[in-house]
Amino acid sequence: MSTSDATFKNAPNASLMFTMYSTTFGNGAFELLPPATGNMEDGFPSIPYLSLEAIIYQQQSSNPLSSPNQTIAGVSAGQQMIGSSQVAQDSTTTPRYYVGTQTTG
């Protein structure tokens, strides 16, 4: 394998960022080995190196995880208290419509 060929096959993985890879469908840019040409090679065949870091970077940028629901940054603990009531009364002050916790009557 010549130096230029090796360089080509092991192109910097930053470029692989822009090729097709997803953890669902795998490496779309994988170099399929062509049928043997009949020429005898004087070395071992090789496949492109795909860096884990490149995949992680690509995955994080293209397939981000949803953030936890937080309405205030850094705060997700607390509670909301609803303890009041609303009463609609008629002209005789008789309750006609009640929202909330009825504590009497």
Binding site: T23, G38, G43, Y49, L52, I56, S66, A77
Partner: protein, 699 residues
Amino acid sequence: MAKGFKNEERYKIHNQYFEGGVSIDPKIGVANSFYQSQNLDFRSVPSQLSVLPGARTVATNLQDNLTAIVQDVNGVRYGVGNNGGVYRINTSNVVSKIAQLDSNGAAGMYYNQVTDQIYIPSQTSVSLYGQVTTGNPGNPTFRSSVFGKSASIAAGTNQLWNSYTSSWSGGARNNAATAVNTVGIQVGITSTSQVTTNATQTYTLPTTLTESGLSYCYFSPDIEPFYSIAVYVTAKGTGNWTLKLHDSLNNELASVTVSNANLTSGAYNEFVFGSQIRATVNASQTGNTGTYHFHLTSTVADGTVGTLNASDMTSADFLLFAYRLVQTNNGWHPTAYFDGTGLPLLCIGNGRWLATYNFGNDQQPNNAQFNRHALQFAFGEEVCGLTKNNQYLVIATEKRSTNANRNFQEGVLYFWDGTTTSPNFKIPIPMGAPYGVYTFNNVTYFCVAGSLYAWSGGQTVIKVRKLAYQNTDYLNAVDSTIVNPNMLTSRYSLLMIGYPSTTTNVNINYGVWSWGSVELSFPNSYGYSYSLASNIQNNNTSGITNLQIGCVQNFVDNLYMSWSYTDAGGITRYGLDLVDNFSTPATSFNWQSLIYDGTVIYKTKIGTRYKIKFNSFPAGYTLRPYYILDRGTPVYASDTPKVGDTDILMEVTPGRFKEIQWGFTGTSSGATTPLVISGITMEIEPIPDEVDLRKDTQS
């Protein structure tokens, strides 16, 4: 580049760079990969192979296989073993047993540098050892099962059901929920002596059990697994008492009988279950269809139990005691420190729960300080590893069968930021149990079904590579491969993977495998870096069975590997191995190339010579080159280099082949410097004048 057959120049298939590491395929891989290596460094200087330091056994006086190791601030290390032994590894690596847990160890251990205590979970409790560096140096105290059973003080057990408010807001059976110690602190209720009854009435025990009316006492527990129920006995009468625990379907969960002689009137009497009782906790509760209830009967109808209401067993005074930890099928309670809440927490995997301890009271934590059930996971899941990734605690769970021949294939990674009452998110791992979860360079690695996986953000996990197998087709045995919680560690900026802990797969070599690269220009690569000092890599070697690696833990330049096996005589051996800067070269090493066929497997070639080039051959080594023709038997060189030699040459004869592979094995004994190999070359005659396509039998 490719050459035609007519080129009469002999080919030199030359391995001079090795940064590709071990390939998963025997013929193809990334550039400069090879098929196999053991105990060789191909990464530090990628243009050479050098023999790695070998492990040496520093202790065989153990009665355990260590499954977790920690270090105190003075450099003394401590390990806990699978059989519950706690060991001290002093700064000279002399190992001594210092304590025995109440049950088996659980692959968890945490050292708190402020309290100077080591927290050690066993199967159902947590023990403490300390102070290890201060206080009374050299004489720390072992406090067995400090975090043992404790009683529920929740309303669902402590108070009566109030049908008016539809809640457990009725009268309190006793003062457990408000009891304080002598200085006014509300500590955990670990003994009935801490509690005073509120019972003023009685219920006379019947001789037979009935599921009706006021004949049983129902409750809604907040903690599990149940250890016992202590009942306030007003008058024990003359009979033997039996407590039966039922669920809401009246299934009997436990039955405990205490003889009359062992009962005490005017006191709490504890009915201890024979084994832990698993339960659902904090279930939706609707009054007298309580999730659980118990009956009390006596062989003579003259005993009375204390109650709040006359002749009403539902108002009986009792205390529900529960274990702090669940006895799991996998036997593990992994530990991790986590402060996602902004407060320090000792997190302990607790079966289908995550338990947390806020270091609030080392002597007697209450149920809030030691929260058994801070997070819950699915029924049947058991925590098999803890690690951290960014702001999350990563909790790996598996389902573990009690039948080693019928394993589950389920796992989940849960992520928790510490501020919520349930995990923030989860990633199901349907491939199998995510073992050995460990974060390195903020990438969380774990082992599943023979492969290494990684996660570092995003929706999916990434299959990094095959560790040992892609499948177990044709294995002719049931595969059961387990990796303990503390089997992954980092050493010299590389990920070290102890693999496996146990396996029935005879194709897997036990050892420590490495993953990573020397720097960013070189690829991440994989290889077998450290074997056990004994170089035992498989069961059935010299009659050895039940080979196990308990844990792999690195401290800067110290790499520990714990192990056990049963020898041919049936005796189980335990030990601790160490690789450090005083280690001598590994006593055995080997390397094997990819298979070469010139990408013309149909054509016959001739191998002529095989040469290994190295730096001046050091004393104490042997090196035996070999080649393999057409996947046959290795043919070894008849001699080994002499001290000072710089190469060894081997004739390949008879050398006609379609496929050829080459390699070497070596040994060292008394060597102090590494053997450095700088080139491995096979010479090939392409014989271009021969007809290419012929029957193999004609070659």
